[in-house]
């Protein structure tokens, strides 16, 4: 295992020298945002609920609006189509808690397998994640219920553990080797037992909605027709808050945006299984016409389907959907009741 100890300022210096775009959480809640940390800018020294913007970091590689192609129709019916350039300059996301870092493991599995989604694939090539161990939970976190923890490294290329004026940095993948080379140079190696002691400081219990998601997944299939579904979906207003703020939700719409009768572009935008027309066909047939059918899709996708297809939980326990739902719908409560665990 490659773990080193560096003074915190060394990270800023190294990133500055590399000239990469560095995105970091600034503030928390509805006014919080991921901002570009410019040259000489300060990196966050710790992370937790106080550095959790309402919008998740997925937007960096999975924007709400991505042009897929532009088209131009000639007067005699000629069609000219141009693809879009989906590339992005080298970008690093710094200082996200494990619930947000792990979202990239989920997005990679969902969007890169078999026929990779072109926009995400292009941006992912030049995107790395420097995750940080979390120091503060809020009343909505549930990372330990979904197979993660405040110091889980899933999705991160490097993991940072704040320790006084130092950072203990762990290398997990080769993606950010250029940065690692700079950090490693002359830095002290941290032996295993010392590393364990540092990681243990972030081993606090996350007590909200405690359950074992993998055990729950086994019972969720049986809850497919649960009468409880209607009860908790009654107050759902079918907005997109839960899914748009979810770090792992990635359902999308493809729509044409015409500039005039002959020219326009085709765009990919965030969509949500909660909108009534998500599965609404032009024939008027809609297999998920009712809100309970749509909520069922959300809960089961999050806690069962993705797990069946990829072997890890789609929910990373960030708690945003519970916190920001305007009508107090709680996906953890829903999943537990459907799975007969409550």
């Amino acid at each position: 295992m490659s773990v080193i100890r560096i003074p915190a300022a060394r990270m800023e210096k190294a990133l500055g020298e590399l000239g990469w775009r560095v995105m970091a959480p600034s503030g928390s809640g509805r006014r919080g945002k991921y901002i570009e940390v410019g040259a000489g800018g300060k990196l966050p020294l710790e992370c937790g609920d106080h550095t959790k913007p309402s919008a998740p970091p997925k937007g960096i590689v999975w924007p709400n609006n991505e042009v897929l192609l532009s088209y131009s129709l000639g007067l005699k019916g000629e069609i000219d189509v141009k693809g879009a350039d989906h590339s992005m300059g080298m970008t690093v996301l710094y200082g996200t808690p494990p619930c947000d870092s792990a979202s990239f493991r989920v997005l990679d599995a969902a969007l890169l397998k078999d026929m990779p989604e072109p926009g995400y694939a292009a941006k992912r090539e030049s995107f790395g994640v420097i995750g940080m161990a979390c120091s503060r939970q809020d009343r909505y976190c549930l990372c330990t219920s979904v197979g993660l923890s405040p110091h889980s490294t899933a999705g991160a290329d490097l993991m940072v553990y704040p320790d006084g004026d130092d950072l203990v940095v762990q290398k997990l993948t080769g993606r950010l080797d250029k940065l690692w080379a700079k950090l490693e140079h002359g830095a002290a190696r941290v032996p295993d037992d010392a590393f364990k002691a540092v990681a243990r400081k972030f081993d606090f219990k996350v007590e909200n909605f405690a359950f074992d998601a993998e055990k729950l997944a086994e019972t969720l299939r049986k809850g497919f027709d649960s009468p409880y579904l209607k009860e908790f979906s009654e107050r759902c207003v079918s907005c997109g808050i839960c899914t748009f703020l979810c770090p792992t939700c990635h359902c999308f719409d493809i729509a044409d945006s015409a500039a005039d009768e002959r020219n326009g572009r085709r765009v990919r935008t965030w969509d949500t299984c909660q909108f009534p027309e998500f599965t609404g066909e032009t024939s008027a047939h809609n297999p998920r016409r009712e809100r309970w059918a749509r909520q069922r899709q959300r809960v089961l996708h999050k806690f069962l389907y993705h797990f069946q297809n990829h072997g890890h939980m789609m929910c990373t326990g960030c708690g945003r959907c519970i916190r920001y739902c305007p009508v107090d719908i709680n996906i953890a409560e829903g999943a537990m009741k459907l799975g007969g665990m409550k």
Binding site: L68, E78, G83, M115, P116, A121, F252, T279, Q297
Partner: protein, 279 residues
Amino acid sequence: MKDEYLPVVAEVTDIRTETPPGDRMIKTLRVQKDGKAPFAHLPGQCAMISAFGRGEAMISIACPPNDEYLEFSILLQGAVTTSLQYLEKGEKIALRGPYGNNFPVDEWKGKRVIVVGGGIGIAPLRSIYGHVVRHPADYAGLDIFYGARDSQSIIYKQEFLDLLEKKKAGVHLSIDRPEPGWNHFVGFVAANLTRAAPSPKNAVAITCGPPIHIKVTLDILKKLGFTEDQVYTTLERKMKCGFGKCGRCNIGEVYTCTKGPVFSLARLQKLLPEGLPDK
């Protein structure tokens, strides 16, 4: 890496208006690129066709695999299909594909193939029976059950009459109500199927049509003794990306655009019962 979103631009080289103008108009478009099929396909697969400014629609490829052309039978439904039906011979069309899984026509070699189509559901089935007609030595026989509400709504009519005349297939047409000059069965496709009672011995049955048609047909085939492995259907869901990423066409953990739309009844029974015809 291939940009999966970029369609290929081809040409509409033939248009056949299958049913009279009106709210249920069906047109069959033949699409070629420089005189050849824009891409190869297997029976049951679909393509995402563009109507720029309006959107795309996933439409079954309605012809058997061949090098020369693709064909699509388009039912008028909304913005995209209206746009596609306005196309004229010689005009350009953009499409991407092929998407989805296919009917295992190779596994079915040596068997008797029975297709049961209701309404526009006959279009994807044409990719199978068209294939069987082209390779008669590979199969033990072909029966086509197809019905529409009236004789004007029957598509591929001349082709069916040709097949009947040349004794290349058992063709069992039906319309819902009696009409002067109609010499075939009167009643629903399901009733026609019950009347004909085809044997499940060494046979495979494939059905496609509106949800109620599929439900009733599956029930009848079961009664006739067809096992779950002998019955296939092709399902429809709203689709946008077509390659298993946009998250909307799934039934449980299965995306119908990649692991479907073709399903054997055996596979269908294992799926979670979301919006499925026989549940």
